[in-house]
């Protein structure tokens, strides 16, 4: 197998968005995080193939880029479901009962933190303080912030996502 086959090429949309970032930076490598976020937005996560394609496009080594990708909490190096649920486990939410809320949430979705539901609808992850501590306990579904959330609201909230 040649290495070419291991690289799934970036789409035109992805290339254009990354180039727009590169345009105002001193060099291509400086766009590494932006590029990872852009490709993740389109593909949901960063596969090895995506990683190699981005590295090639930015003229940097895949190893260096992986060191960056794995450093950041918001870059997924494993597949995630169609919706990502992030639950705050930091101190203000903890004080307001986040631990028991997190337990109920896992029971509700039938998965543990780090897992994805069998229908691929939800991936459940812990997250640090979401900066909405006056609304504790909080969670983020994709780009939507919820808080304070109670167990009773879960069915209704999750029904909004497919």
């Amino acid at each position: 197998m040649s290495t070419v086959e291991l690289i799934s090429p970036l789409t035109d949309a992805e290339r254009n968005e990354i180039e727009a970032e590169v345009a105002h930076l001193p060099d291509r490598e400086s766009a590494a995080i932006d590029a990872l976020m852009i490709v993740q937005k389109h593909r949901g996560w960063i596969s090895d193939e995506s990683l190699r394609a981005i590295a090639k496009f930015l003229d940097m080594s895949a190893a260096t880029l992986d060191g960056i990708a794995t450093f950041y909490n918001l870059i997924h190096r494993q597949p995630v479901g169609r919706n990502v649920v992030m639950v705050c486990d930091s101190v203000s939410c903890y004080v307001m009962g986040a631990d028991s809320f997190a337990q109920k949430l896992q029971d509700h979705l039938g998965i543990k933190f780090g897992e994805t539901t069998r229908d691929d609808c939800f991936t459940l992850l812990p997250i640090v303080c979401l900066g909405a501590c006056d609304r504790a306990p909080t969670m983020l579904i994709n780009e939507d912030l919820f808080g304070p959330v109670t167990e009773d609201e879960l069915t209704e909230i999750f029904s909004r996502y497919s």
């Binding site: 105002h24 930076l25 001193p26 490598e29 400086s30 766009a31 590494a32 995080i33 932006d34 990872l36 976020m37 060191g67 960056i68 450093f71 950041y72 909490n73 918001l74 870059i75 992030m86 486990d89 930091s90 101190v91 203000s92 903890y94 004080v95 307001m96 997250i127 640090v128 303080c129 979401l130 900066g131 909405a132 501590c133 006056d134 609304r135 504790a136 983020l140 780009e143 912030l145």
Partner: protein
């Protein structure tokens, strides 16, 4: 008299009852400070005024802003050579003030950055924003586009020869990126690991160029100082620290939230009057006054004014000024475990005491909490707190900050720790 006379940061948000749009902002006198600064003042005059006003950094360390700007003044004078970076990473647990400022008053941040960039001679500026801050990102992006449209940003602003390009960098998410040298690495697209200092960022920062990093709230203070002067700003504070502060409270109070109040507002007034007191059935035991990385304050401190010096003299730090309240239903050992879990997870991994020590401390706390504590464990925790927390034993202040709530918990709530070990159980658990 308008609310903005006493609340320069969010008075306008209250007046319009939510998001301050460009037209709301202009109708409230917005962008006149930037115009005054760029047309009538030299960069040095702005720096002097900010120094005289005694504006101190709101990102946690309280460094005088005018003094910091002075470090980047002067050489080299190539246009566009320097950078101004706004630290909007806000990942300190318990802190939610910068989100509010960006989401509801984005133009005040932009105006503050125009003035700051002009003062230090930067023609390129970045807002380093948390990746999870989706709504603030949308509002700020829109405000930047509006400001470009009006030529508040761009070339020859207000007909002067000053140009400014302002952009947002969305973070990939790590607490350590809030540390200003780690932030600069992240801005450059690298792993967010702290850099060796010196050189400090005003000498060599982003891409090796002189760079000033300031917190969101710090920069939002600048327009009103330019507009109303240093004396007015100093007079806003109740104690020797100047201006207003966005104070926040989270925990079991009746009305958690945040308020812009005179610097030096007493803690008890914040809890009882503004946050509506503790909820029925709960008693206040301890406060982390400025986010997760500050030492606890207890009953004997609750009448103190919240300002930099007083809180420091009491053995803690003002930090971000957003307080986390621990009530009597919360187990101090388990809360310490929660805090150390955060710091252990968010360590960048570069130095051993932080990378290895913090998870070890977290595990020991979990053991004590779960009834598996042993004689001597508290002395071990004391020793580790001393070793990990001592500035100089680690490369950056992450580890020092991690230890602050632990060492003060061991001091003020020692009975609770001892009880767990002696009775091999947690008295707060409902069985």
């Amino acid at each position: 008299m308008s609310l903005q006379d006493t609340k320069p940061l969010i008075g306008r948000v209250q007046e319009v009852g939510g998001l301050v749009t460009l037209s709301d902002y202009e109708a409230g006198g917005g962008y006149t400070a930037a115009q005054k600064g760029l047309k009538q003042m030299t960069p040095s005059e702005i720096i002097d005024l900010v120094r005289e006003a005694n504006l101190r950094g709101r990102g946690g360390a309280g460094f005088p802003t005018g003094v910091k700007w002075g470090f980047a003044k002067g050489e080299p004078q190539t246009p566009g050579y320097k950078y101004l970076v706004c630290n909007g990473d806000e990942m300190e647990p318990g802190t939610f003030k910068d989100r509010y400022l960006i989401e509801f008053n984005p133009h005040s941040l932009i105006e503050g950055m125009i003035l700051g960039a002009y003062a230090i001679g930067a023609e390129k500026a970045y807002v380093f924003l948390r990746g999870e801050y989706h709504e603030p990102n949308r509002q700020l992006a829109r405000a930047i586009a509006e400001a470009r449209e009006k030529n508040y940003l761009g070339r020859s602003i207000f007909g002067s020869d000053f140009n400014l390009d302002l952009r947002i960098h969305l973070s990939g998410g790590r607490y350590i990126c809030g540390e200003e040298t780690a932030l600069l690495n992240a801005l450059e697209g690298k792993r967010g690991q702290p850099r060796y200092k010196p050189p400090f960022p005003p000498a060599s920062g982003a891409w090796g160029r002189p760079t000033i990093v300031n917190n969101v709230e710090t920069l939002c203070n600048v327009p009103a100082i330019i507009q109303n002067g240093a004396q007015w700003y100093q007079d806003l504070g109740l104690t020797e620290d100047a201006g207003t502060k966005i104070y926040g409270i989270s925990g079991r109070v009746n009305k958690p939230g945040l308020w812009e109040l005179p610097m030096g507002t007493p803690i008890r007034e914040l809890v009882d009057d503004h946050a509506g007191g503790m909820r029925d059935g709960y008693k206040l035991r301890g406060i982390l006054p400025g986010g997760a990385s500050t030492d606890y304050l207890v009953e004997e401190h609750f009448d103190l004014p919240m300002d930099y010096k007083t809180i420091q003299d009491a053995g803690s730090r003002m930090g971000t000024g957003t307080m986390i309240l621990m009530d009597d239903s919360i187990c101090p050992v388990d809360m310490a475990r929660n805090l150390q879990h955060f710091f252990a997870q968010e360590s960048c991994g570069f130095c051993t005491p932080c990378r290895e020590g913090l998870p070890w401390v977290e595990e020991l706390l979990a053991d004590i909490e779960n009834g598996n504590g042993k004689d001597g464990d508290l002395e071990l925790l004391d020793q580790n707190a001393l070793y990990i927390g001592a500035p100089g034993n680690t490369f950056c202040l992450h580890a020092t900050g991690a230890i602050e709530p632990l060492q003060s918990a061991l001091k003020y709530f020692r009975d609770d720790f001892e009880h767990h070990i002696k009775h091999k159980s947690c008295p707060y658990r409902k069985s």
